[in-house]
């Protein structure tokens, strides 16, 4: 996943600025850009990874090589190749130390997902929207008890986030500024797991602490 900010410069093509909405995009998602000096020029479209990192992303066919190069530029990158390299490195280090656990891969992936969520809580889905979890697929307006009490007492309830006439909103363009700490907000699209191919490693030693 790549974090794109609207208005950011395209790497290596500084005259181009991003016009697509900001957010977390798939590495290969297409981002619309425009010439900063000449707005009459028609827009151009590049992949998110190219916008962020430039042509280096096309110089390596092996994700390990690509990930290593991206990490040199951006140690905290959430590009799938960078994530793959980080996870691989971590697991290899654990194996070298003899501390590799059966859950190591899942733990590493979860850690990356957490990191990605912290960086950008509301990724921009590429195509169709995945079904929301049950709580949010409800067609009923989202009002709280206080609002309903106010209604029954005749006072005008605060305008619900979703009108009673409208279905639950599609999640095609979530507000990137949504409060990530709101427990009722469940991530609308689960960030894709990094592509990691790992053999199940035999635990050589285990310390009981």
């Amino acid at each position: 996943m790549i974090n794109i900010t609207q208005g950011m410069e395209v790497a290596e093509l500084r005259n181009l600025l991003v016009v697509s909405p900001g957010g977390q995009y798939e590495d290969t998602a297409l981002i619309e850009c425009k010439d900063a000096q000449d707005s009459s020029k028609p827009p151009t479209v590049y992949q998110a990874q190219f916008v962020k990192y430039g042509s280096i992303v096309y110089r390596f066919s092996d994700p390990r090589d690509l990930g290593a190069e991206i990490l040199k530029l951006d140690p905290e990158s959430s590009h799938s190749a960078a994530v793959f390299v980080r996870i691989s490195s971590e697991l290899l280090a654990q194996m070298s130390e003899g501390s590799l656990e059966p859950t190591a891969l899942d733990d590493a992936k979860a850690k990356e997902q957490e990191k990605t969520a912290e960086q950008n809580p509301d990724p921009v889905p590429e195509d169709e929207v995945e079904d929301l979890p049950t709580e949010q697929t409800s067609q009923e307006p989202q009002t709280n008890d206080a609002d309903m009490q106010a209604t029954s007492e005749g006072s005008e309830p605060p305008e619900p986030e979703v009108s009673a006439q409208d279905p639950a909103p599609d999640v095609e363009e979530p507000d990137p500024s949504a409060d990530a700490e709101d427990d009722s907000v469940i991530p609308e699209v689960i960030p894709p797991e990094p592509v990691v191919s790992m053999r199940r490693l035999k635990v050589i030693s285990r310390s009981n602490t």
Partner: protein, 709 residues
């Protein structure tokens, strides 16, 4: 007569055969004379093989489906497309191939950003380069003004390069990039070109065409990148953006057949010649079996209603499905050309393969909804028939070698299946040639230095493009061990050497003064290239000679026998040799000729005899010779000629078999006793022969000449 030898070493002056010169070595189109530090480096023959290693370039990209554009007489642009794991982008690599040195130079690559971000696999790849030179142009700064030009209406895209001062791109010293096309007579450059008065110019319109299949089926189809130029193919790569809503830019456009694309099972992309600046057709074979049909697009159509880089404006029509026999391969399958033989003589046709057949579809039949668009097919029958080589049943693609008017039919290479070069026929005749072998040699850079590069099959298909007689064969591997591209002078093959493109090596005229008999010719050639276990033999050659019609190249050629002997020609004062080479073979390693030597007898005394003063007699008019060198068998018929040494007139001409004008005798004891002449070989060092004319005038000076008859 004495034995003489005349030698020619291939180090002297040369001339193209088209400018025939009997005083020089004459070289056919693909024949070269090379030099170097050692004697082995100095030779003549078909150009040596060239080799490129895409996976060992500074950016390793597995390359496939070569497309070649000739730049000048010595250089070809060679393009490959990304054959790596399917991805949302595909890269296109560019090499320069210099024929005089057989050297590939990796220029770099571009990356195509497709308007769909799902994973593409390229099934067909072509490059297209058109030169626009209509009218004249002048420049002031970045403003270019045309006269008699039609830049906008000819759909020249932004991003192309333009050069001034000539309409020949090889003569352009400085290229400029087009940043905008205002009208038919107005262009804006990206940077100032100074002031240039009105004159010739050239715009180079370079495009990439790919047909893909996609992980999301409806995202496959035909894509075109336009507005390209050579300089974009850089070592660091240049990324071409996806198009959006505007035509005529440097971008990747999706040429869709419909809102939801149906051209989703592409097998290859065939490109026809351009009809006009607004009409240029390509054909996509779609479907491998029961749904096999052909889509037609106009790549120079104005792309209207562009949305997210996609337009249906280029789409023309699609035939109906017609099931072929066998399965149509999806490896750059399909080529348009006009052969000059067989059932397709003079008919522009689309040629493609299934696993078991080569199909032909006349282009004129590729019409909308036509369910009988396939014209005919050629069954795979290997040379020698099925009892010599089993049919592979694994045909992969075909290419047309225009210079020799033949098809190059490539197999998948599975289980070492070989490939073919052949005429097109529909009567089940065997193919003409079979070539390549699977000897498993790896031609990566770390291979043994003594190994010889050659296109080994390695159980992998090749893809091929033929340009100017050179077959560019790219093995479709994806690793450094197996992804190589070879330049093979295929059309120099001896079967076609006398064709419209002469592919012969012809020596200068070699002087044979006073030759009375041509004895033998010896060739100094490299028979084995490389060294040790990994060395390989070259392909064979054959040699011809002529002793007349040398000065004006009118003489007929006669084949020299394998032992270098001659079939009793009447010698002349000069002789000339010609070589033809086998190239379509197992290893395709052309022969290298270092030199040729002709040995002949002249009109001096035969070298087996020495005139003997002691045994001759002026008074008795006896002429004697010592038998100095044995023949190694029966003595051939000897001939004596007596000349008036003063006037040169011939006084007597007789042979040992006729003995009409004198007596032949022989002595084996130093002349102590003379007996009848016989043809027994030399017995000892005291063996003599003598001749006594029956009648000869007195008081004349006589020169006696003893030769073989």
């Amino acid at each position: 007569m004495a034995l003489r030898a005349v030698e020619h070493i291939f180090t002297g002056l040369t001339t193209p055969y088209a400018s025939y010169d009997p005083a020089k070595t004459n070289l056919g189109v693909l024949i070269q004379q090379r030099t170097g530090a050692t004697a082995l480096d100095k030779y003549a023959g078909p150009m040596p093989l060239g080799l490129a290693r895409p996976m060992e370039a500074s950016t390793a990209i597995a390359g496939a489906y070569p497309h070649v554009i000739p730049w000048d007489s010595d250089n070809d642009w060679v393009f490959l497309v990304d054959n790596g794991t399917a991805a949302a982008t595909r890269r296109v690599i560019m090499y320069n191939y210099q024929k005089s040195t057989s050297t590939f130079t990796w220029n770099g690559f571009i990356t195509l950003t497709f308007p769909t971000a799902t994973n593409h696999t390229v099934r067909g790849f072509r490059m297209n380069r058109e030169l626009y030179t209509t009218g004249t142009a002048s420049v002031s700064g970045t403003a270019v003004t045309g006269s008699g030009t039609g830049w906008n209406s000819s759909n020249i895209p932004v991003g192309c390069r333009i050069g001034f001062g000539s309409s020949d791109p090889t003569q352009i010293a400085t290229w400029h990039e087009i940043s905008a096309i205002g009208s038919d007579t107005s262009i804006t450059l990206t940077a100032s070109a100074g002031t240039i008065s009105s004159g010739n110019y050239v715009i180079e319109d370079l495009r990439v065409l790919v047909s893909t299949t996609n992980a999301t089926a409806a995202n496959g189809g035909v894509y075109m990148a336009k507005g390209l130029r050579e300089e974009l193919f850089a070592p660091a790569g240049t990324t071409i953006s996806a198009a959006s809503t505007t035509d005529g830019l440097r971008a990747v456009y999706w040429l869709a057949d419909a809102g939801t694309v149906t051209n989703t099972i592409s097998c290859g992309l065939a490109i026809d010649a351009r009809d006009s600046w607004t009409q240029h057709y390509i054909y996509i074979i779609d479907g491998t079996t029961t749904t096999c049909r052909v889509y037609k697009y106009n790549i120079r159509a104005t792309l209207g209603s562009l949305s997210s880089g996609k337009s249906t404006s280029a789409y023309v029509h699609v035939t109906a499905a017609q099931t072929p026999t066998g399965t149509v391969s999806q490896t750059n399958n399909g080529r348009i050309d006009t052969l000059s033989h067989g059932p397709a003589n003079g008919v522009k046709s689309l040629y493609f393969v299934t696993t078991t057949r080569v199909y032909r579809a006349a282009v004129a039949n590729l019409t909308s909804g036509n369910a009988t668009w396939q014209s005919d097919a050629m069954v795979e029958v290997a040379p020698g028939g099925a009892s010599t080589y089993a049919a592979t049943g694994a045909l992969s693609s075909c290419e047309i070698a225009s210079q020799i008017d033949r098809l190059i039919v490539i197999s998948t290479g599975t289980a070492g299946a070989r490939s073919y070069v052949t005429k097109y026929n529909t009567n089940s005749d065997p193919f003409d040639h079979i070539f390549l072998v699977d000897d498993k040699q790896l031609d990566q850079s770390i291979a043994d230095n003594d190994a010889v590069i050659h296109p080994a099959i390695n159980a992998t298909a090749f893809s091929v493009w033929s340009e100017g007689g050179i077959a560019y064969l790219c093995r479709l591997g994806t690793a450094a061990t197996t992804n190589q591209m070879y330049a093979v002078p295929l059309s120099a093959h001896w079967t076609y050497a006398a064709g419209s493109a002469n592919q012969r090596l012809i020596t200068p005229a070699m002087s044979t003064p006073s030759a009375s008999r041509l004895t033998r010719v010896y060739v100094n050639a490299t028979r084995h290239i490389g060294a040790g276990t990994v060395g390989l033999p070259t392909e064979p050659y054959r040699m011809y000679f002529r002793i007349s019609g040398i000065s004006d190249d009118s003489g007929e050629w006669t084949l020299v026998t394998e032992d270098g002997g001659f079939t009793d020609p009447t010698p002349s004062t000069e002789i000339q040799f010609m070589f033809e080479f086998k190239v379509i073979g197992a290893f395709c390693i052309p022969a290298r000729i270092h030199g040729v030597t002709i040995v002949y007898e002249d009109d001096t005394t035969d070298s087996h005899y020495q005139p003997s003063v002691a045994q001759s007699s002026i008074s008795s008019k006896v002429f004697a010779w010592r038998f100095s060198t044995a023949f190694g068998g029966t003595v051939p018929t000897l001939r004596i000629r007596l000349y008036n040494a003063t006037t040169g007139s011939l006084l007597l001409d007789d042979t040992t078999t006729a003995s009409a004008l004198g007596t032949w005798e022989k002595s084996t004891n130093d002349g102590a006793a003379w007996g009848s002449y016989n043809t027994t070989d030399k017995a000892n060092d005291t063996t003599y022969i003598r001749y006594t004319p029956t009648s000869i005038a007195d008081n004349i000076k006589v020169r006696a000449l003893l030769t073989q008859n």
